[in-house]
Amino acid sequence: MRTNLSKLVLLCVVSLLLFDCGRKRNNNSSDQDLPTPVAEQPLADSATRFRGYAELSSLIETSLMETKGAFSLAEYMGVFNSQFFGVTGIGALLGYYNPDPLNPGWRNVKPNAVGMSVYLMSFDFFALEIAQKSCGIPLEGKQLQEIALKPLVKDLFSTICASGSNLSESDARELWFALSSGLGPESDFSFWREDLKSIDPMTPVERVQFVTKVSLTAPWVLTHF
């Protein structure tokens, strides 16, 4: 558990160094600025692990949000909330840490059909919030939660809404880096850039949803190292 926390702290530090809130977009950023991706590490042990729900929610918050403590992915899960799944709650479906002294360890941390469906749904709804903040798409009804995107992330999504895949190379890299929490392998960037072209005929909301879902379901986002 301590090792996992220290790795998360390291990721936060890396993300903060590269996505400082006041930093302007740098059109001259080079590949050398990107840290060595951890996504291509060989299998450390036989137990690969999907991130537990709470850990994933925390990672998204660290990567995309300006402030900590206010974001919860569960807010976007609609009918799939803890009431839906009874006393066991969303953690039992999407992975959690069981501190049971008899047999402590992570539980339910492999992807399953229901869990992936829940994640896709929640990322869709999360994207609506992003679209509202970044693209000025008004949403009726009470806010699910106040989210304050990092200014850079907010700006990049604004560009997505307005210009589709027509991002500069550096902007595309920065958005990809933010959404993959700094974990994406270099080999994936060009494919991601290519996939992005699909959004051009879409509406602004659909564009944001596409980018959000495709990026946040990346295996290097969903895998715990």
Binding site: F84, N103, N112, M116, S117, G141, F210, T223
Partner: protein
């Protein structure tokens, strides 16, 4: 699912969250997954969708009765003379009757079992199962029942998903156990099942996104890195969504009614268990699952006298629930065309039984405590040789000479204990052990291993006596 096309048109998030949306798939998406989806088909073609022509359907249902069920109120009763001698609590206050199995085994049963007797040829009673000589906690013994290890581990139930359904097990409640292989199992009940069915396929969103996700995951699938392995798992999970969604859509359940006014807790437990039984039956019928766990919600942990006095009422509820399971499964049609009960193996178990009384408490004011030295398991349905009484517990009369082992483990003589039993020959051992020897007693792992044999689970999953110890012999006599 369609989205508003105009940026000027606002989107009502609440309506989006709460709407019931039909499942739709693009042809490109389904072709990418290499499979079509059959929607809106007739009942016969539904059976054809589900049935694998080369494989006989074989389902598993566990009726899990947490809290420690006092089996002396069912098929391990004691004569009233034991109560008269202040040895055994009996708030039913009736004399039990003999129950003789087709194998010559015998026991005493109470009048509470009467509703089950019409099914007696379909089930066998296994008495005298020793859960543990030392651990007596709910969680420790539930762990033993499900994993063979008091500290928990992998439950055997998901291993019965031999058709590789997207969901291993649907469980209808919470269990106090430490299980580490429920990744593809979900907790559902009849109320939430409909919501899942309506929503599960919807949130793939645009097919372009899902196609991109699949492409990326497939590109990264390999077994040489953590990410590669997760990619493979993501692909399998995503491919499971349309199959699961289409099958869940065919699970037709009656509309949930408002609970009747003045419904007691027991009545509520019976009603919800019946609804959940029907849900599990329909899910098996439609190929959503091969294995289900019906987890009962009754208060059976009768440490205090008032709970103990209520036990006959609670256990009557247990029997009604089990009886409903047999009724429903004998009515619902299996994909084979037979009845579900013909194609389903059922295990009914609690994590342990209870003491006969509490120490130094008047017999008519006594509660009962945990007793892991004996338990009763019931097997029924497909592949089970019904009508048997296998094994037995000791202390059947007030003057029985108990073994040294029993006296060591239970010096106050508060408990029943399983009799020494040879699993391989299914014969009682003429032995009075001085100490507990796991080779001399019937343990739940023997029942679980017999079930694994029946289902053809790979042999490396048989439960053992412990780390680096031999496999526990399978109770083959229970099988047809």
């Amino acid at each position: 699912m369609s989205f508003h096309k105009s940026t000027n048109q606002s989107i009502d998030r609440r309506s989006l969250l709460s709407s019931s949306v039909k499942v739709t798939y693009s042809g490109l998406f389904t072709s990418l997954l290499g499979g079509g989806v059959s929607l809106g088909s007739t009942f016969q073609s539904k059976l054809n969708d589900v049935k694998d022509a080369n494989k006989e359907p074989h389902f598993f249902l566990m009726i899990n009765i947490p809290d420690g069920l006092d089996t002396s109120y069912l098929f391990d009763a004691r004569p009233l003379a034991m109560t008269e001698k202040s040895l055994q609590v009996n708030y039913l206050s009736e004399a039990p009757v003999p129950f003789v199995g087709t194998n010559g085994g015998s026991t005493l049963r109470t009048s509470l079992t009467e509703p089950l007797m019409k099914w007696s040829s379909r089930f066998s009673v296994i008495n005298g199962v020793v859960m543990s000589p030392s651990f007596d906690g709910h969680d420790q013994n539930m762990n033993i029942l499900l994993t063979g290890n008091p500290f928990g581990g992998s439950s055997f139930v998901p291993w019965f998903n031999l058709s590789d359904r997207p969901i291993d097990v649907v469980r209808t409640g919470f269990l106090f156990a430490s299980i580490d292989n429920l990744d593809r199992s979900i907790d559902l009940n009849a109320q939430t099942c409909k919501g899942l069915a309506e929503n599960i396929g919807v949130y793939q969103g645009s097919s372009a996104a899902t196609e991109a996700i699949l492409r990326r995951s497939q590109r990264n699938s390999s077994r040489s890195s953590s990410v590669g392995l997760t990619s493979e798992e993501i692909v399998n999970a995503l491919k499971g969504i349309p199959k699961l969604a289409s099958r869940l859509a065919k699970v037709e359940l009656p509309e949930q009614q408002e609970p009747p006014q003045g419904e007691s807790d027991s009545q509520r437990s019976i009603r919800t268990a019946k609804d959940n039984t029907l849900m599990l039956a329909k899910m098996m019928q439609q190929g959503v699952i091969d294995a289900g766990e019906l987890i009962l919600d009754l208060f059976l942990d009768s440490h205090d006298a008032s709970s103990a006095k209520r036990l006959p009422v609670e256990i009557k509820s247990v029997v009604e629930i089990i009886s409903n399971v047999f009724e429903i499964f004998s009515q619902e049609v299996s994909p084979s065309g037979r009845r579900l009960l013909d194609d389903t193996t059922i295990l009914i178990a609690s994590e342990f039984s209870r003491t006969m009384r509490q120490d130094r408490v008047a017999i008519d004011k006594s509660g009962t405590d945990h007793n892991p030295l004996t338990n009763t398991l019931i097997l029924a349905g497909k592949g089970i040789r019904g009508g048997q009484v296998i094994g037995a517990s000791d202390f059947v009369s007030h003057d029985e000479n108990l073994s040294s082992c029993h006296m060591t483990l239970d010096p106050s003589k508060l408990k029943l204990m399983g009799r020494p039993f040879d699993v391989n020959s299914a014969q009682f051992l003429n032995a009075s052990p001085a100490a507990f020897d796991q080779n001399l007693y019937l343990q739940p792992m023997s029942v679980v291993n017999a079930l694994q044999d029946l289902f053809g689970v790979p042999s490396d999953r048989r439960l053992t006596f412990g780390r680096n110890l031999p496999v526990v012999p399978s109770l083959k006599v229970a099988l047809a």
